[in-house]
């Protein structure tokens, strides 16, 4: 099958602010109807990439094109008002002196004619706010403001929609609803969407593809399941799950660790590190790994157990289902799911400390 041409394309984009390098060469294609999440810790460059795409910032080097037209490179620069992109902000940025309908109609052709009015009404109906058309932004709840912001951005039918942390001002329950609604609206609009977030749950729930960024570079890109199951380094792994790191020795494609032997494809022989998800452990009668329990904390669905294992000086913290009865001082028999163990070269831990979201 022939892949459709990208609607939004970044080619080797670099950017530096006065005293800081923000992007070190980012290339990324987003196709129509696709949602790509830019995920990463603060300062990784994800917001800069969004600003550069919108034309709010001109990149230092590289090329950006929208629908096949170059909008910014070394010679050309199309100003934001002529790019035809939509933008949704973390604080929604609704115009406080305009009512909901006027906010949504703001990006439509002037003077506002029949079509503009019809579009506005239709957009408001789609986000379920038709009844609030003549209210002012301050009269709306956070979730309603978010929907107005989305309707305003989508009303001019932009080819590209950019969303900057759109869910981070919402509380948990509302957040889940808004993710689903937003995804449905984006899919319906057919725009190429880029969503910036620092929350892996947001990214996994909404995105078709995730681009995980660190220090101005995309570290790994792929479908959520892909990136979750096959992280390229400890940074990516730690971004999605809590892990414990153990020493390992690799020989002939297999790593020997204090909790067992695991396949280690692509790792050179010698010292390595094994990162194991805290949830990879389970209690099994015929488990191969004896562990003595030092302490237990109840966490709701799970419980955290601090355990000691022969051959390991430090204490490990693992997560076990809450229904199991575990008492400090007893010895458990554990099984380890190999899908939750990742072996990396020892040197790959370079960025570990600042990698936490």
């Amino acid at each position: 099958m022939h892949a459709p041409a990208p609607v939004l394309a970044f080619e080797n984009v670099r950017h530096a602010y006065r005293d800081k390098i923000a992007l070190r060469g980012v290339s990324l294609d987003v196709r129509a109807g696709e949602i790509v999440a830019l995920l990463g810790p603060s300062g990784c460059g994800k917001s800069t990439l969004l600003r550069v795409a919108a034309g709010l910032e001109r990149q230092s080097a590289g090329r950006i094109s929208i629908a096949g037209r170059t909008v910014a490179d070394a010679r050309a620069f199309v100003t934001p008002e002529k790019r035809g992109v939509g933008l949704v902000f973390q604080d929604y940025a609704l115009f406080p002196h305009l009512d909901v309908a006027a906010n949504v109609a703001f990006g439509l052709a002037r003077p506002a004619g029949e079509t503009a009015r019809a579009t506005t009404t239709q957009m408001l109906r789609r986000v379920g706010l038709a009844a609030r058309a003549h209210d002012y932004p301050h009269m709306l709840s956070g979730g309603e403001q978010q929907r107005v912001a989305l309707a305003r951005a989508l009303a001019p039918q932009p080819a590209v929609l950019l969303l900057d942390e759109p869910f981070s001002n919402l509380d948990q329950g509302l957040r889940r609803d808004m993710r689903n609604q937003t995804m449905a609206l984006l899919k319906e609009s057919g725009a190429a969407a880029v969503l910036v977030t620092h929350d892996p749950d947001d990214a996994m729930a909404v995105a078709d593809r995730i681009a995980l960024m660190r220090d101005g570079l995309i570290v790994q890109m792929g479908a959520p399941a892909d990136i979750y199951d096959r992280p390229v380094d400890p940074f990516v792994l730690r971004f999605f799950s809590e892990v414990e790191t153990l020493p390992a020795t690799v020989a002939h494609g297999e790593a020997t660790t204090p909790i067992g032997r695991f396949p280690a494809r692509g790792c050179a022989d010698g010292a390595a590190q094994a990162c194991v998800r805290k949830t990879a452990f389970s209690i099994a009668r015929d488990g191969a790994l004896p562990a003595s329990v030092r302490a237990v904390r109840f966490l709701g669905e799970r419980q955290a157990a601090r355990i000691e294992i022969a051959g390991l000086k430090s204490v490990l913290e693992i997560a076990l289902p809450a229904r199991e009865t575990i008492r400090p001082g007893t010895t458990l028999s554990l099984a380890v799911d190999p899908a939750g163990v990742f072996v990396f070269p020892a040197a790959a831990s370079l960025h570990e400390e600042r990698a936490r979201p």
Binding site: R18, A54, L56, F89, A93, P96, H97, F106, G107, H138
Partner: protein, 561 residues
């Protein structure tokens, strides 16, 4: 993204207009020959410089003592009438120093109400039998300037005492410090930057003044510049003295800047509840009397006197037509300058906001606000030089065309007055509008741009409606200051063109106190508006500090619009 567009062009024009007079001063001053400069320095400006320094020193001491003590009384103690005293202490801001001097001269005149009453009480029949010290002296001038300008120190010191300092004062008290110890060892050092900044502003005003010094027979550099130009028509000489004044101003600007930077260690945080000590009974009444003394002398007494004089005058002869004309002239000049200031400030501040990294726009904005520190006389002399140049070019052009050369077209004209007022008060408008812009999140701008608006369309559709309260505030401040301005207006106005302030000056200088009181009353009345504004802003800011910056907060702007 830095482009040279309309915003940059207007900014450049503004900066050029603001800088030209100062540059011209330097050029003109160099034209005067060395001998004349020596003469000016030795015989004219030397005495004036000494007297100016003495006046500045006296005023500094006076405003610091009055301002700080007043601020301490209303923040450290709770007594009946404290809140009223707190506001009353701001009132002298409504009276320019020259109005205060005018009123007090009239009050203390040998046959004025004060001395007449005193003689009556003591049983003297003849004015020659009881002689009070003359107000027309250096100490008299220090008294008048001190009363008029202490609010600059009072406002800063009060804010400092109210904010973080209260926590320190509380701690010091708990640690067992005595009352005087708390004041001298804790409160005073922490308020020092605010005091220095306030005193520097007060001294700039003193240096700027021409009326009060003239009425009180003090020869300052300002009055010397005026005399050198008006009486001796010696523009290079006036320019040389004006340049010397600029050095003093520069020092004061540095003090003010430094003080503002040093405020870092005593930031104006959210206002806390004051650890005010309740004082009742006779001690409380004593504190109230102490706090009310400065506004009583600096506002109530002169204002009541002026109002009575004006009422008598109007009752006897009706409303003087020349005052009506002067009021109209004042309105025209002040309105024109206000409109230019506000529109210019809006464009300049918006231009910088839209391209915050543009060195050009930042630089232009800084340059165009320089005029605030330049004394009116200095500015006027500089402007005269620039406009005089234009006039000679015009005359030459007319002569070349065979037409009859006109007289002074620009150098003494309403246009010149408006330009001077604009240069001088541009910064007031900029500061007010900057504050307004800072409250609008940048995401509003970005949304508007992405939704298809050019910077200019965004200014019109988003920023203008949201900034209406700030724009109104800026217009009010600029208008009132233009209306009170004396020195530049006095030097630049065309013949027989009187504003309220020059009318007052003319009568006082002639020793005739006929319609002056009516003009003074009008000035004071209009001057009260910004004081009321200041009082409201003070309380509004306290509320604001407790609120997050949300869309809901911005809505206040919409409703005001």
């Amino acid at each position: 993204m830095a482009r040279f567009d309309g915003f940059s062009a207007i900014g450049l024009a503004g900066a050029a207009v603001a800088v030209a007079p100062v540059l011209a001063l330097a050029v003109i001053a160099m034209q005067g020959d060395g001998a004349s400069f020596g003469h000016v320095l030795n015989y004219v400006a030397g005495d004036a410089a000494r007297e100016t320094i003495a006046l500045l020193a006296g005023v500094a001491a006076c405003v610091l003592v009055v301002g700080v003590v007043a601020a301490w009384i209303v923040t450290a103690y709770e007594f009946p009438g404290r809140r009223a005293a707190e506001v009353a202490l701001l009132l002298p801001l409504a009276l320019p120093a020259y109005v205060l001097a005018y009123a007090w001269l009239d009050l203390t005149h040998p046959i004025g109400p004060l001395q007449t009453a005193l003689r009556g009480a003591l049983g003297y029949a003849n004015p020659a039998d009881l002689r009070l010290p003359d107000l027309r002296s250096l100490p008299g001038a220090v008294f008048v300037f001190g009363l008029s300008l202490y609010p600059y120190v009072y406002i800063g010191a009060r804010a400092a005492f109210q904010s973080r300092i209260s926590a320190q004062v509380e701690a010091a008290r708990l640690l067992g410090a005595r009352e005087s110890g708390v004041f001298f060892r804790v409160a005073l050092p922490l308020a020092r930057p605010a005091m220095a900044a306030g005193a520097a502003l007060a001294l700039m005003e003193t240096l700027n003044d021409i009326g009060a010094a003239e009425f009180l027979s003090v020869t300052t550099l300002t009055t010397t510049v005026y005399a050198t130009w008006i009486n001796r028509s010696d523009l290079p000489g006036a320019a040389q003295i004006a340049l010397a004044m600029l050095w003093i101003v520069l020092t004061l600007v540095f003090v003010e800047r430094w003080a503002r930077g040093a405020r870092g260690y005593a930031p104006e945080g959210a206002r806390r509840h004051n650890p005010a000590r309740a004082v009742g009974g006779p001690a409380g009444i004593g504190l109230l009397a102490l706090a009310l003394a400065p506004p009583a002398l600096g506002f109530a007494t002169p204002a009541v006197h002026l109002a009575r004089q004006a009422a008598q005058r109007v009752a006897a002869n009706g409303f003087p037509p020349e005052i009506a004309q002067a009021a109209l002239n004042t309105m025209v000049v002040a309105l024109a300058a206000t409109v230019i200031c506000v529109v210019g400030a809006l464009v300049a501040v918006a231009g910088r906001r839209y391209e915050p990294t543009s060195l050009l726009r930042n630089g232009l904005l800084k340059l165009s606000t320089l005029g605030y520190a330049v004394p009116g006389t200095v500015l006027a002399i500089g402007l005269l030089s620039v406009l005089g140049g234009f006039d000679s070019v015009l005359r030459a052009a007319f002569a070349a065309l065979g037409a009859k050369p006109p007289g002074l077209l620009l150098s003494a004209s309403v246009f010149a007055v408006v330009v001077a007022l604009t240069i001088r008060f541009f910064r007031l408008a900029v500061a007010k509008i900057e504050t307004g812009f800072e409250r609008l999140p940048l995401s509003l701008d970005h949304s508007a741009r992405v939704l298809g608006r050019t910077p200019f369309a965004m200014l019109r559709e988003i920023h203008l409606p949201l900034l209406t309260p700030s724009i109104a505030g800026a217009a009010l401040l600029v208008f009132v200051d233009c209306m009170k301005e004396l020195p530049a207006t006095l030097l630049l106005r065309p013949l027989n063109f009187e504003t309220l302030s020059t009318q007052l000056y003319g009568e006082a200088a002639r020793g005739a106190y006929e319609n002056g009181a009516v003009a003074a009353c009008l000035i004071v009345l209009v001057g009260l508006f910004p004081v009321a504004f200041l009082t409201m802003v003070g309380s509004a800011r306290a509320i604001e500090a407790t609120r997050p910056r949300t869309t809901a907060e911005l809505d206040g702007a919409r409703e005001a619009a």
